[in-house]
Symmetry: C2
Subunit: 223 residues, 2 copies
DNA sequence: ATAAATTTTAAACGGTTGTTTGAAATTTTG
DNA sequence: CAAAATTTCAAACAACCGTTTAAAATTTAT
């Protein structure tokens, strides 16, 4: 974070602060102080804070998406299984750590923040730029899980994304709470290792959409 | 939201805005405008914004926690199973909708925001006030899933919380994105119905901690 | 009804936000 | 080397933030 040019120094400082504190809670003054550059240089190089947010994410996606596509193509050519599709996300994710020590985690957290903070422009950017890959993901999972409706698959994929993103975003908090007496340091690798079998089980579960268990009555009855 | 007293009007407006926008991104002026009360009345009735955040959450927890405890006691007295423990959370959650049409969702979202926004005071408050119930939850799950270590259980419980919270927080976003052509309106009831079998599968999964699948090598190899 | 306590109100406080400006410094080009 | 284009910089902008103040309005108690 030293002899790089101004634009890169801003991107690197913004990456860390956006992931740690969120987009809205991070000020341009925090970023420029951390990056040791002048405040006005953000607007000079990126135009606005909103454009900076987009640029930080674009920097990840340009690395992540091509590798993901390559891995997905490999899965499609070989044998399509839920586990194989999930594993296809691992290499592109860890490739991001070449940008910075924690970039894989920062990327995951920022994707999550793009959902929960109202950053509609981010979603539009991703869909416009990488809609094809997103479609391919759905296609492959549909193929691996032919018994699931598109709606059911949609739900489960977002539960899976949530499981990963939530723990990545709160790894700081999780270390503080009472239960964490039994909680070793949460490296990105550890989290991924733990979440893969968890989401695989949730995605492939055969009992969820059968009407004989967890019926509407049971849940509706507690209203 | 009309003839209630000032304190309640503030709590109701804050509930909605905190859930929609987060704690940091919601200003006291937004809250008091929405509630049609004077700006200074927040500090008069609650002392500070931080105390208001705590008061909004306390209003939920005072309803949620006793009912949860009652349900957990029922499970403990009868037959302890993962599914039964999960179902124990449903009645207290939907009881919150007596406070407001969307309060169950707002509560869930705010619990999530308490993790990802750095609101350490919230976690301390919850642990201090309801630590016993939290301990009981862990105890029951340990009983239902005796093969899991405490660490493994801890991970899976937070993945489960994440799956629920993420989808609740982003239900607005999820309706916008491309995949959502196949996406009906996401009521709180629908989300809970969908998430219960998902997390049940993830929690009870027997393959996750076995070393013959998804090994460290597979994941570490992609670093 | 009068006094006391509580609540509401408009205004202002110092501090921070994203953005703009125009001059100074630097780098690139001819 | 000089001219031109690019980048950096300190300073200021209006808008917004949480909080405080003290007077006005209202409710409660005597």
């Amino acid at each position: 974070m030293s002899k790089a040019n101004t634009k890169t120094k801003i991107l690197e400082a913004a990456e860390q602060l956006f992931a740690e504190q969120g987009f809205n809670s991070t000020s341009l003054r925090q970023i420029t102080n951390e990056a040791n550059v002048n405040l006005a240089s953000v607007n000079y190089h990126f135009g606005s804070k909103k454009s900076l947010i987009q640029a930080v994410l674009a920097r990840y996606l340009e690395i992540f998406m091509p590798i993901l596509k390559r891995e997905l193509d490999k899965v499609a050519a070989d044998k399509v299984s839920t586990e194989a599709i999930i594993q296809a996300f691992v290499p592109p994710l860890f490739e991001l750590n070449k940008l910075g020590k924690q970039s894989a985690k920062h990327f995951t957290v920022m994707i999550g923040r793009g959902y929960s903070e109202t950053q509609g422009h981010l979603r539009k950017y991703i869909v416009n730029e990488y809609g094809e890959v997103l479609t391919q993901i759905i296609e492959l999972f549909s193929q691996a899980l032919p018994k699931l409706t598109k709606q059911e698959l949609f739900w489960r994929l977002h539960f899976s994304l949530g499981a990963l993103v939530f723990v990545m975003s709160s790894s700081g908090a999780l270390e503080e709470i009472a239960m964490s007496d039994f909680f070793e340091q949460a490296s990105t690798k550890t989290i991924v290792q733990k979440v893969v079998p968890y989401v695989a089980a949730g995605l492939t579960n055969q009992q969820g959409f059968l009407p004989n268990q967890f019926t509407t009555d049971q849940i509706g009855g507690s209203l």
